[in-house]
């Protein structure tokens, strides 16, 4: 076996900091020479436990080669002490022992050893074990750094995603200017997701509201959510629900890949005339609680999801929108999150909640989320969840 060429293939192994600990000066010189001869250069030595601890803490090694039998602090004790140090938790500790007693080997592993080598030292075995463990350590470190970087990037992406949702300031303005009370909950099933909701001012007495669910989950869906959001905020004609969805659809057909699409409910409230005009493209039908008759109406409105077929047209429907009326928009995760027996929230139960809470947004939202929690338990969501409650203030 050509150990040298094996080692040379992974250059980072050469950079490893190695600490050899042995009470024999001769043994240390021998070990150091072997390592240097095979390309390692960052080697320290220690003749006892105390010196080893000092050197390991000052300059944490990647690998400690440790003699088990030493006067004073033996290899077991030293191994335990080193392993407890936060900077050495992932350090490779190779124990050298003349003993073939299995209880010694077990005790070594219990003390935190990564592996053991029997004495007299077999040079090839020592180098191979050193290389294998160091490669694994470096790979694990690399994965850890990658995960940390990715985690930070996803955290930043999540902040950006939260920023496309209506701000508290906007909700206060909408409450003041349009007498519209809004409560909402957004929860992606992974770090980022493909759901979002929004409000767009159209005129002094017209305001649009929407809830969007992009197909798929995770980063891909989140990137498409940004695309759709930009279009939703910028395209002209936002006051007419059906034609606006048709325009949005044609824009999305050009940018979305086959199999990707967006479902949306889009409504325009005319506060002067007390009307809600709405269209839908594949979105789960929302519910409207009417204060006047204290009934809940399902706003059935079908439509091909956005981004699938160029030239799709959409139906537009209208319903009265009066003081005290409440509109509940939600993505399908709300009615697809089931308990272990397969029971889920359904439109009937959502309607009952709206009636029981008389459409008051905070109470409705709290009640629905509590009910969802009872189905979901400790399980993560299987899909992104958005829940919005809009109420025409009395």
């Amino acid at each position: 076996m050509n150990i040298r060429s094996n080692i040379l293939e992974e250059k980072s192994v050469f950079d490893a900091r190695i600490l050899a600990v042995d009470d024999s000066d001769f043994a240390l010189t021998f070990i150091e020479e072997i390592f240097r001869h095979h390309g390692f250069y960052n080697i320290e030595t220690a003749l006892n436990g105390k010196e080893a601890i000092e050197k390991a803490l000052k300059n944490p090694p990647d690998l400690v080669l440790l003699d088990l039998i030493m006067p004073g602090m033996d290899g077991f004790e030293l191994c335990s002490i080193l392993r407890r140090e936060p900077t050495l938790v992932n350090c490779v500790i190779l124990i050298q022992t003349v003993s073939k007693d299995s209880s010694h080997i077990v005790r070594s592993f219990n003390a935190g050893a990564s592996d053991y080598i029997t004495k007299p030292l077999n040079v090839e075995e020592m180098l191979v074990r050193t290389t294998v463990h160091l490669e694994r350590r470096f790979m694990m470190n690399s994965l850890k750094l990658y995960r940390e970087r990715l985690g930070q990037e996803l955290k930043n992406a999540r902040k950006m995603q939260d920023a496309i949702l209506p701000s508290t300031l906007l909700l206060e303005q909408v409450r003041h200017d349009y007498k519209l009370e809004v409560c909402a909950h957004f929860e992606p099933c992974s770090e980022v997701g493909g759901d979002f909701w929004g409000i767009r001012r159209i005129s002094a007495d017209k305001i649009a509201l929407y809830c969007v669910d992009i197909s798929g989950h995770g980063v891909g869906a989140a990137l498409n959510a940004f695309r759709v959001h930009i279009l939703l905020e910028q395209l002209a004609g936002a006051e007419a629900a059906a034609s606006y969805l048709a325009t949005l659809n044609n824009a999305l057909v050009r940018v979305l890949e086959p199999g990707q699409f967006a479902t949306i409910f889009y409504g325009v409230i005319d506060t002067r005339n007390g009307i809600l005009d709405y269209s839908s493209a594949g979105m789960v039908p929302p519910l409207l609680y009417s204060l006047q008759d204290q009934k809940v109406h399902m706003l059935e409105c079908n439509g091909v999801p956005l981004g699938v077929v160029e030239g799709s047209s959409y139906d537009q429907k209208s319903i009265a929108w009066a003081k005290g009326d409440t509109l509940l928009l939600y993505s399908d995760a709300l009615v697809e999150t089931c308990d272990e027996k397969g029971r889920c929230l359904d439109a009937q139960e959502l309607a009952e909640t709206l009636q029981r809470e008389q459409g008051k947004p905070a109470a409705v939202l709290t009640a629905i989320l509590a009910r969802l929690e009872s189905f979901r338990g400790m399980k993560p969501l299987g899909d992104d969840l958005t829940l919005c409650v809009f109420r025409a203030m009395d």
Binding site: G216, F261, V284, N302, V309, D332
Partner: protein, 102 residues
């Protein structure tokens, strides 16, 4: 989701059972590969045994539709019921596929 593929001349039928979701992306790719290979005259998804479909799975069916258009053959969805039928109706799938009852 589990599926079985039956071939009778140029007519392919894929019979699916269980929950058809995002998690089936890998196995569905094999179906898409078969479609891309062409040599079909018609493809029917028998969905009578599918109890649940999510939006990601709808996307997979749309990919098949796209491929079918390239290869000029029809895709039919048959036997959808319950939640699956509701999803097809909400998304107006009758305008995109041939929908058949069981």
């Amino acid at each position: 989701m589990e599926y079985r593929q039956d071939i009778a001349g140029g007519n392919h039928t894929i019979t699916m059972t269980g929950r058809f979701t995002f998690a089936d992306h890998g196995s569905f790719k094999k179906i898409v590969d078969t479609v891309r290979a062409g040599q079909m005259e018609a493809l029917t998804f028998n969905m009578q045994g599918v109890e649940f479909i999510d939006s990601a799975a709808l996307g997979m069916l749309l990919i098949v539709r796209e491929e079918a258009q390239k290869h000029k053959f029809l895709v039919a969805l048959s036997g959808a019921q319950g939640q699956v039928d509701k999803m097809f109706r909400v998304s107006k799938f009758e305008t995109l596929f041939t929908l058949r009852q069981a």
